[in-house]
Amino acid sequence: MADDAHAGGLPIVARGATYASGGTILLADVDLTLERGGRTVVLGANGSGKSTLLRLLHGLLTPTRGTVQWGGANARPRSHAMVFQRPVLLRRSAAANIRHALALAGMRGADADRRIHAALQAVELVQVSDRPARVLSGGEQQRLALARAWALAPDVLFLDEPTASLDPASTRAVERIVGEIHAGGTTIVMSTHNLPQAKRLADTVVFLHGGRIAEHTPAEEFFRAPNSVAAREFIEGERL
């Protein structure tokens, strides 16, 4: 798989991708290439187009102009997963939520059971595996959403501000889990408006400002010496 440059729906290539809704341009002229392996953090203020960018790259939205391709193909690969800001869980047990996702990916039986157990163990939710998912705490629900994505062993995992509504302890747990999923070989694309979090997690930063990519640079360089005025102001603003 490693010697096939186009395996796993990578690289993800956006060319002039623009998305407009109801006459408002939410994202304009995005040229972006995401390669295998890294942790890309999409950074920007509220309303800068982070969620729209992630949805375009995951194929949930189709650009109104321009293209997004996955490993040279026009169809969204099945091996990409996404975790949303507010976890969306079905009215069934925690384990059954993962089972549902695995069944959609064509996985059933003992293999599915093993994956469910391993995923719940990895997010420390084995003890609530039979509890209805939607009565778990907010932090537990987000960990379950991560476990569901993890069980699918995705090539790419998109996370749309996964810690925006969580307390610090839950946030740390989510960051640890994302780190472990990445260590397992999954390419991470995560959005946040939280600068310290971006510093902790990012290998590469895509900085969005007003629906455009203002900067796409290695994280170390971005935080040391941002190229764009907007990024400098964003970082300065955080320091105030």
């Binding site: 969306v88 009215r91 996702a101 209805p132 009565v135």
Partner: protein, 243 residues
């Protein structure tokens, strides 16, 4: 002039109520038979209508096609179908000279099941459409991300909204069991064959036999009230249990 008349009605009412109570308490065979047929017919109609209405409502909820708005408007409008008109149309279809006449179903419990099914299937479809669509708004992106197709999503959401849909089924059953116009026309209100609670109440009231009419009325009221309690309790329980 009015006062003695009112007193007469009131005393008749209370006497009838006592007799009705006795009939219910002693499980009067005639009363039991009528209640049994009522429940049987309306349960069958609710089950058949559910098999048609719930998948249809869910399918409309999760799909997008030209003319969808019109379909939804028609579904919603059909919730208000007048029972007597439904009865009349089914009567014409099932009568000897009608297109379905050779089945010989007119004036049978089966004809009543058909009429009630036609009456409540649109109600179940319209309410299921609304329920599933509300859930769809929340689940759409997640299900799409997991690779769920339209049909699969409809089934997933039907199961996910099962407790709300149970309430929808109870509403449909309540409408069916309390309806009189359609079953009167296609059933014919034949003693011991197609006589149900509502048609009996109508007939016995006009004959002046108030105890049976009142007894059945009490049973019907208690039933409808109980259904609503069950529906409410189910919602509360499910909310606490499953979120």
């Amino acid at each position: 002039m009015h006062f003695p008349c009112a007193a007469f009605v009131l005393s008749t009412f209370s006497q009838s109520l006592v007799l009705a109570g006795q009939m219910i308490a002693s499980l009067d065979p005639k009363l039991v038979e009528i209640v049994g047929l009522s429940l049987g017919v309306s349960l069958a109609a609710t089950l058949i209508a559910a098999c048609i209405g719930l998948p249809l409502g869910a399918a409309v909820a999760v799909s997008r096609f030209p003319g969808r708005g019109t379909v939804i408007a028609v579904m919603n409008a059909m919730m208000g179908l007048p029972p007597v008109v439904v009865g009349l149309v089914i009567y014409l279809l099932l009568s000897r000279a009608g297109p379905l006449g050779h089945f010989g179903l007119l004036f049978t419990p089966e004809a009543m099941v058909i009429a009630q099914t036609v009456l409540i299937a649109p109600i179940l479809a319209a309410l299921a459409r609304q329920t599933v669509e509300d859930a769809w708004v929340e689940y759409r992106e997640q299900l799409a991300s997991l690779g769920s197709k339209t049909l699969g999503s409809a089934l997933t959401l039907l199961w996910d909204t099962r407790y709300s849909l149970a309430t929808v089924l109870l509403a449909g059953f309540g409408r069916a069991v309390a309806e009189v116009g359609a079953v009167m026309i296609v059933g014919g209100n034949i003693d011991g064959v197609t006589r149900v609670m509502t048609t009996t109440i109508a007939l016995e009231t006009s004959k002046g036999d108030l105890p049976l009419a009142l007894g059945l009325g009490v049973v019907l009221l208690v039933l409808v009230l109980a259904l609503n309690f069950v529906a409410q309790a189910t919602r509360h329980w499910a909310k606490a249990r499953f979120g």
